[in-house]
Subunit: 178 residues, 2 copies
């Protein structure tokens, strides 16, 4: 038996990403979950951002950003960066995160995140209260200590986690099933 619920953003599990962006005053970080890989060639991603958010104009002006995948020990910083505005906070400083230069884009990478994805904005699509930034991936970086002997990301070390919008909860990744 199925129970009907009201329409909502119900796709699960969702990634949890820290988007870093450059700005002449200071770089900023915004936590997002409306995000996905959307195209294999050119490798492209999309992120949904509300135009009212401080980072919206920063990303639009810079034309690029970095998607940083946090490990679960960064959960507190992840929540902070999603609930405070860069208009009033220096999130790198207040969260103890370190900006390091990216190789292809103006946005800094977050050193403490085991996976960093440099991206250049290609299109901005209006959907509703969120706009969708479609961007091409131009470089990927992984922490040396999170790579296994086959040069692949070791998920047990990288320890990414997921957001479940239906319950408002964060859940860890479990075990390999296939």
């Amino acid at each position: 038996m199925k129970k009907q619920k009201k329409p909502s953003t119900a796709i699960i599990p969702c990634p949890v990403i820290l988007v870093s962006v450059a700005h002449e005053k200071q770089p900023n970080i915004i936590t997002l979950s409306w995000a996905a890989n959307v195209c294999s060639d050119p490798p492209s991603i999309a992120i949904g951002v509300r135009p009212s958010r401080y980072s919206y104009d920063l990303i639009k002006e810079a034309g690029d950003f970095v998607v940083n995948i946090p490990s679960r020990d960064l959960l507190d910083a992840t929540v902070f960066c999603g609930t405070h505005s860069g208009r009033e906070h220096n999130k790198f400083e207040e969260c103890g995160l370190t900006p390091v230069n990216a190789t292809k884009v103006s946005a800094p990478m977050i050193e403490e995140c085991p996976l960093n994805i440099e991206a250049e904005v290609k299109k901005i699509i209006s959907v509703g209260v969120h706009d969708l930034f479609i961007a091409e991936v131009v470089a990927v970086h992984m922490d040396q200590e999170a790579i296994d002997s086959k040069e692949r990301l070791d998920l047990n070390i990288a320890a990414p986690f997921t957001y479940i919008p239906l319950t408002g909860e964060y859940w860890g990744i479990g075990k390999k099933i296939g």
Copy 2:
């Protein structure tokens, strides 16, 4: 220390979805991972589909689809529906899945999936080898037995899983961390 890798679709974890779509001959199912919630109001989702895939034209013609979230006991069907074409296969029949009528769209829901999301296509955006279908969620259904006492989806029963494109692996969801 960071190690630079070539550009790729590196956002993790990714959802794993079974997209069902109507067709006069027989309904079809395609497994996708390039998918996300992208906008809160109207609740909207996006899925990336290659124009060469059989389901591409079906979705375009129907103008709607259902996103079905499989539980981990549907892993084999999930892999089958992502590696075989509806041009030669009746995937509902061959995978033992049951099409049931949706409430708002022409596409059928997959009864065996604990979460079903009805969606109407609003925009099709060309990105590269994948096109992005942006669609509005018009109804959500959950299995009665997967809902807890607060009427919320119980993740331990729904047992969604994730795809990790960097390693080509499927991983289960672990435990609540926040």
